[in-house]
């Protein structure tokens, strides 16, 4: 077995209660690396793609990569994969924290969960042994409460838990890891809820093997130095991901008033990383083995929205519950974040659905009666917090928003869909493609729908990183141009998509040089990859998931930015600018080897060794 892998996976059938191991050989691991890429391969090989995402037949896969558990910085990650109940296509959502390394130390590269339990259960994995136990006493509890109860029984276990949103099959439900870390996107908490699986716990005491311990240590030392020397490290440590708020408002990155405005500098300042640091931060928190410590721990003692000390909001949450809703009150954002964490909901999707509803309320499309008396005016955070709970419990109008913004807009009807910024059914994260045209292309082509984490386009286009050693890349790209962006996105995607197969944090991968990352990958696995091999793995990863989606009906017609993004803003850093979709797609399709339908061409599939996928796409 190659280093970095246990070679063993756990297969759990909740319908029968059977837990058994299966293995994947080194050759397959070398080809698909691990994480979400290997999960896509497993899904394609073993499951019916047409399965209803909330039915027992939809597998939920918890995957690690070869670097997880080695102690290399940023490799606490794991990725949860399935077919999305929100979008109906490929879903993956990565998470930091503590669970991934312990799963590896417990002897598993991944866990595949099928079926549906008759009553709420908890899957417990301890050093190569798995068992299902009754979780009825946890059902109905929020993520914080349930996690505390689990840890009362066994303090050292790491826990994945769903909240009330997952239990109620809210299509934007998240999965929490030890309260402070979340697999948020694409509704995977609902998949877990549909299986009556309240929690997965893990405890591992084993060690992850490496092909070359000395080379690993040298690469680790090098990475630590690069992290120490980086201004990005300093910024993330001091301000968290919300360091982007002030900068992003200037560059046109931050969406305002449900993507209809820009240039709100005072609003951004009230919600920014420096403000959070000055007023509410109690400490910075790190995922295991991470020297960056970008996570926020916050406490609000005074005012209307007090919060006990706990996990603080990321930039995305500050934007979606802040600028998107014209809310300048950071304490209300912190409270909304806490509620989403507790109920187990993705903050981007939840906030986007509410911001859409605010706009429709202003237009009169939905009324106060529709909202059961809630006055959903811009910035009314009492109303927002009430709606967050209503969504989690599927109560009143919350039941409609619990479907996610796209399905909700379709239920509401009329031109409601024009108030939603999404691609392939997933609400866009808080980065405006009118300010950064490459991000627009990346949204269009990301395999889970609009996403900033299936690639490193944000890092390269916004200038957080520059890797001319990987491809012909400039130090500085202008955001508001589409020229040259297809090449940028294509290459940043081939490299960046590996984050979720290697299972490494995006921020750490932005900071650590590609040479160091390649060195550690080879030191751990012994695969002897070159840069070209790594980039080819990224191409294979993207193409495999694209083929998955093609088999579910995704074509070129779905590679499109919504009307709102193709409408220029009048104010702010992105004023007057919209991406040139036609240019971006034409160039990108040529790089990616896609045909007119948006399918990978046969020769591309052969080049990448995806012959089985070719047979299915071209049968």
């Amino acid at each position: 077995m190659a280093g970095g892998y246990t070679g063993k996976f756990l297969l759990v059938n909740l319908s029968s209660g059977e837990c058994r191991d299966f293995s994947i050989d080194s050759q397959e691991l070398g080809k698909y690396i691990g994480g979400s890429c290997l999960a896509a391969k497993l899904f394609l090989d073993r499951y019916d793609l047409t399965v209803d995402p909330l039915s027992p037949g939809n597998p939920l896969m918890i995957m690690t990569g070869p670097l997880v558990g080695t102690g290399f910085p940023g490799t606490s990650r794991f990725t949860i994969c399935s077919k999305s109940p929100q979008t109906g296509i490929w879903a993956e959502s990565a998470c930091g924290g503590t669970f991934g390394p312990d799963l590896k130390r417990a002897g598993y590269d991944g866990v595949v969960i099928e079926g549906r339990a008759d009553s709420p259960v908890c899957l417990s994995i301890t050093d190569g042994k798995a068992e299902l136990t009754d979780a009825s006493h946890l059902w109905g509890k929020d993520i914080y409460e349930a996690t505390d109860l689990i840890k009362e029984q066994e303090k050292s276990v790491k826990a994945l838990v769903i909240g009330q949103a997952g239990e109620h099959l809210v299509r934007i439900a998240a999965i929490g890891n030890d309260k402070g870390h979340f697999s948020g996107r694409a509704g995977l908490g609902a998949v877990m809820g549909s299986k009556n699986l309240k929690a997965v716990t893990v405890k591992g005491t084993g060690k992850v093997g490496k092909a070359d311990e000395e080379k690993f240590k040298a690469a680790q030392k090098q990475a630590m130095q690069e992290i120490k020397d980086s201004a990005l490290t300093e910024g993330l440590h001091l301000m968290g991901s919300d360091a982007n708020m002030d900068l992003g408002m200037v560059t046109g990155d931050v969406p305002v008033k449900n993507w209809t405005s820009g240039g709100e500098y005072e609003l951004a300042s009230s919600l920014s990383g420096p403000t959070m640091r000055e007023k509410y931060l109690t400490k910075a928190h790190a995922c295991v083995n991470c020297p960056v410590a970008c996570k926020r721990v916050v406490k609000v003692d005074d005012g209307k929205y007090t919060s006990e000390e706990g996990p603080g909001p990321e930039y995305e949450t500050c934007a979606v519950f802040g600028t998107m809703m014209m809310n300048p009150d950071l304490t209300a954002v912190i409270k909304a974040n806490e509620l989403c964490n507790r109920y187990g909901m993705d903050t981007i999707s939840c906030g986007s659905a509410i911001a859409m509803a605010m706009e429709l309320y202003e237009k009169g499309t939905i009324s106060r009666d529709d909202l059961k008396g809630i006055e959903l005016t811009w910035g009314n955070m009492d109303a927002v917090l009430a709606l967050v709970k209503a969504i989690a419990y599927r109560e009143g109008f919350g039941d409609i928003l619990a479907e996610g913004a796209v399905r909700a807009a379709r239920k509401i009807g009329g031109d409601a869909i024009d108030a939603v910024v999404h691609v392939k059914g997933l609400e866009a994260p808080m980065h405006d493609p009118r300010g950064f045209h490459g991000m627009g292309l990346a949204y269009m082509m990301s395999n889970r729908g609009a996403c900033h984490l299936q690639h490193f386009a944000m890092a390269t286009e916004q200038g957080m990183a520059s890797w001319p050693q990987l491809f012909d890349m400039k130090d500085d790209y202008q955001g508001i141009t589409s020229e040259g962006k297809a090449a940028l996105v294509y290459n940043s995607e081939n490299y960046g998509i590996l984050a979720n197969s290697l299972s490494i944090c995006h921020y750490v991968a932005y900071i650590v040089r590609p040479e160091t990352l390649l060195e550690v990958f080879n030191a751990v696995t012994g695969f002897g990859f070159t840069f070209a091999d790594l980039m080819k793995s990224g191409m294979r990863d993207w193409t495999l998931k694209r083929g998955f989606n093609n088999l579910l009906g995704i074509t070129k017609k779905d590679d499109v930015l919504p009307k709102r993004i193709m409408t220029a803003l009048e104010e702010g850093g992105a004023a007057g600018s919209v991406p040139d979709m036609e240019l971006l797609l034409r160039e990108y399709y040529a790089f990616r080897g896609l045909d007119e339908r948006g399918f990978p061409k046969e020769e591309k599939l052969v080049e990448l060794g995806l012959d089985e996928l070719k047979a299915r796409l071209y049968q």
């Binding site: 020397d229 001091l238 920014s272 420096p274 200038g463 130090d475």
Partner: protein
């Protein structure tokens, strides 16, 4: 008429450009503190020795703008260091200063959250740097 970059005459011209800008006073109203730029030598570009530049900014006004020694430069609230070629790229707006910092092409000592909070001020003074009619060392014969 163009003035030689990184000389006292050039610092005076830069200071005058900032003082003459109608927007600067408003944008920089919250900024407090001095900034030093340290230009690493590059003999191949006619910059044989390290150059230290000290600039004092205070609530929309400007104070001392001088070519100085290391001790004076180190006394500034913010000290930014980089190779000559990088500074020239910044002046020509070929490289955004924030991106240069993040990519490690410029280094900064000082309160980073303060800079982030006042990013519009930073961008403004860089804009104005580009407006000074400059003769760069590697462009001079």
């Amino acid at each position: 008429m163009a003035v030689k970059a990184m000389t006292q005459e050039w610092m005076d011209a830069y200071k005058a450009a900032i003082q003459a800008d109608p927007e600067y006073k408003t944008i920089a109203k919250d900024w407090e503190g001095s900034v030093s730029l340290v230009v690493n030598p590059d003999p191949s570009k006619n910059v044989p020795e390290v150059i230290y530049l000290f600039m004092d900014y205070w609530h929309g006004d400007v104070g001392e703008f001088v070519v100085c020694d290391k001790a004076k430069a180190d006394s500034a609230k913010f000290v930014m260091t980089g190779d000559y070629a990088r500074w020239k790229q910044v002046a020509f707006k070929e490289l955004d200063a924030t991106k240069a910092l993040l990519q490690g092409k410029l280094k900064m000592k000082g309160d980073l959250p303060y800079v982030v909070r006042n990013i519009k001020t930073v961008n403004k003074v860089i804009d104005l740097l580009g407006k000074v009619d400059t003769l760069w060392p590697d462009d001079a014969n």
